[in-house]
């Protein structure tokens, strides 16, 4: 069973690595977006799925990465791979600034602080026009790099999934899950809950930061409305919840299934998009809080590390 899974995984990775040599430009860009969603859903899972602290504003890190990378590429002429990594670092800095005051407390403070963060960043970005171009946006020099960005995006998705595997199978991950189940008990057992929550939060911000930078480079143009949309946060939450929060492959599964549906079916019902996502969130929370993968794990007695 485990062997078949690993072989299948290796085959899928090889196929994806060879894909750009065969696929069309459109296909490559679609897959690139899928990788982006996997990285985003998986990152949200790191903080919210593992510690139970809901982040309603994870798109803020995406936007932070996009603007950091955009400014470094557009104004300072950095090479895009370095600039995107710097975007990840900047997202971590932002996470530190928000996490420090908000994660010291139990309760919904963190969730609401994240809900407001996005709006505030959008306002600030629009305000400092000199640096960010304000509402007019920021254009990057043209560069046709879809294929390198495809690989970079794929690497980030693999890295975040690998990181999740390492965390879930480690003591650090067990402590995070203890916080999720009962924070007071976790403290009583001597876990420094604030530090653990903060580390998980910082790790969950890097991925979206790098991915934001890559998306900015790929699109070549960013503006406040395009990099801070609430729907991005909603989408990553839905994907992680649907696949199974707090698992390793759940967010990947959720991203693949929902992204495919989105491309094939929902693109025609764009107006119903959010309603549908809202309904999925409500239904998953009420009827299968562990997501598809959680249900499968229970039914077929699969190991926790799937």
């Amino acid at each position: 069973m485990k062997r078949a899974f690993l072989v299948g995984l290796a085959l899928a990775l090889v196929a994806l690595a060879l894909y750009p040599t065969q696929g069309t430009g459109y296909g490559v860009r679609t897959m690139l977006q899928l990788f982006m969603w996997i990285a985003l859903a998986q990152s949200w899972n790191l903080i919210s799925g593992l510690t139970g602290y809901v982040s309603f504003g994870h798109v803020a890190f995406f936007g932070m990465g996009a603007y950091s990378a955009g400014i470094l590429i557009g104004k300072l002429g950095w090479a895009w791979p370095v600039a995107c990594l710097a975007g990840g670092v900047m997202a971590m800095v932002l996470a530190l600034v928000i996490g420090w005051p908000c994660l010291r407390l139990k309760g919904p403070y963190f969730a609401i602080a994240m809900l407001g963060l996005n709006e505030v960043l959008r306002v600030i970005v629009s305000y400092y026009e000199g640096l960010t171009g304000g509402g007019n946006g920021l254009s990057l020099p043209t560069l046709h790099a879809s294929v390198p960005i495809y690989y970079a995006m794929g690497l980030v998705a693999i890295a975040v999934t690998g990181l999740t595997y390492l965390i879930i199978t480690s003591r650090f991950g067990l402590r995070l899950m203890t916080i999720r189940e009962d924070e007071v008990a976790a403290e009583a057992m001597g876990i420094d809950t604030f530090r653990h929550k903060l580390y998980a939060f910082l790790l969950s911000a890097v991925g979206p930061g790098i991915v934001g930078g890559l998306a900015a480079r790929d699109q070549g143009y960013i503006e406040p409305l395009s990099v801070f949309p609430l729907i991005t946060t909603i989408t990553m939450i839905v994907m992680a919840l649907f696949g199974g929060k707090g698992t390793i492959w759940g967010p990947v599964l959720g991203a693949v299934v929902l992204f495919t549906f989105q491309e094939l079916v929902w693109a025609r019902f764009i107006y119903l998009h959010q309603l549908l996502f809202g309904a999925i969130i409500v239904a998953v929370v009420l009827m299968m809080p562990r997501g598809i993968l959680g249900v499968l794990q229970q039914k077929y007695n699969l190991p926790r590390t799937i």
Partner: protein, 292 residues
């Protein structure tokens, strides 16, 4: 260059701040009630306010009903919506981990906003009613804001009277102090939860009806009120109902004062920085709350 700031301007800003703050206090009291009674943070509180604003708009648009009279419709309607929402969905996550109730109300919130977009479109609507200002010495106040403040104070006073003096109100406070003990005393906790959710949604609807006259109405107008109401609760101390009044007035003042020294654009950023500072320095709020 910013023009020099005169004492008259400061006075004007302080009074505007208090006018806006009384409205924040009323809306936040609703969010605080739900949080106090059920330990649920209702992310859909702001969208309830948006529904209240639309109720007022449509009544004004189709029947020409005065926005202030439409309170008599919007509040009962949203009371029912809130109570039904509690009965059907929120009831099931009251005892679940916080993550469930946050995600559930978040899902409800985006569904409501999207439904509003489908039914009412995203066009900006406005209620043209009671324009102009009262002039008092060097100060000028828009009539709609003054009346909104007076109505908000009356409704908030009514809510406090209900909480302090009536049997139901006392039962509600009892449940928010200790659910188990209240239950042992023979209070029907499920009914109180529904009541609290209904009253809270009615308070949000009142806020919506009152701001309908002042600002553009659109489906996404509500979300920012969820955030601001929460900020008010944190300022006043979570679970402390009179604290919400103080917090509301304070938020109104800080916002208006910041627009005097900075531009109005950064209003939301200032409110946000205030939240982060309060959480750093005094997480239990100004009046002592029951925050963990």
């Amino acid at each position: 260059m910013t023009p020099a700031i005169t004492p008259a301007m400061v006075g004007q800003v302080v009074i505007s701040g208090l006018l806006a703050g009384s409205l924040y206090a009323m809306v936040a009291l609703g969010l605080g009630l739900i949080f106090g009674v059920m330990r649920v943070l209702n992310v859909a509180h702001g969208p309830m306010l948006m529904l209240g604003a639309y109720t007022t708009f449509w009544l004004f648009h189709w029947l020409g009903l005065s926005p202030y009279l439409s309170l008599l419709v919007s509040m009962p309607v949203l009371f029912v919506v809130g109570a039904v929402l509690q009965r059907l969905l929120v009831r099931r996550v009251v005892d679940a981990p916080e993550l469930s109730s946050l995600l559930l109300t978040f899902g409800v919130s985006i569904a409501i906003v999207n439904l509003a977009q489908l039914m009412f479109t995203s066009d900006l609507r406005s209620v043209e009613y009671l324009t102009g200002s009262f002039i008092l010495g060097p100060f000028a106040f828009s009539k709609s804001r003054v009346i909104a403040c007076v109505v908000a104070i009356l409704i908030t006073a009514g809510a406090f009277w209900f909480l302090q003096k009536t049997r139901l109100g006392k039962a509600l406070r009892a449940v928010s102090q200790s659910r188990e003990v209240a239950q042992v005393c023979g209070i029907n906790v499920q009914r109180i939860h529904m009541l609290a959710f209904g009253v809270a949604s009615a308070l949000a609807a009142a806020g919506g009806s009152l701001v309908a006259v002042m600002v553009a109405i659109q489906p996404e107008m509500g979300q920012v009120y969820t955030f601001k109401s929460f900020l008010v609760i944190v300022l006043g101390g979570a679970g402390n109902y009179p604290g919400a009044l103080l917090g509301g007035l304070l938020l109104g003042l800080v916002e208006q004062l910041s627009s005097l020294f900075l531009t109005t654009q950064v209003n939301e950023a200032v409110a946000y920085i205030l939240l982060v500072l309060v959480l750093l320095v005094r997480p239990t709020g100004l009046l002592k709350g029951r925050a963990s």
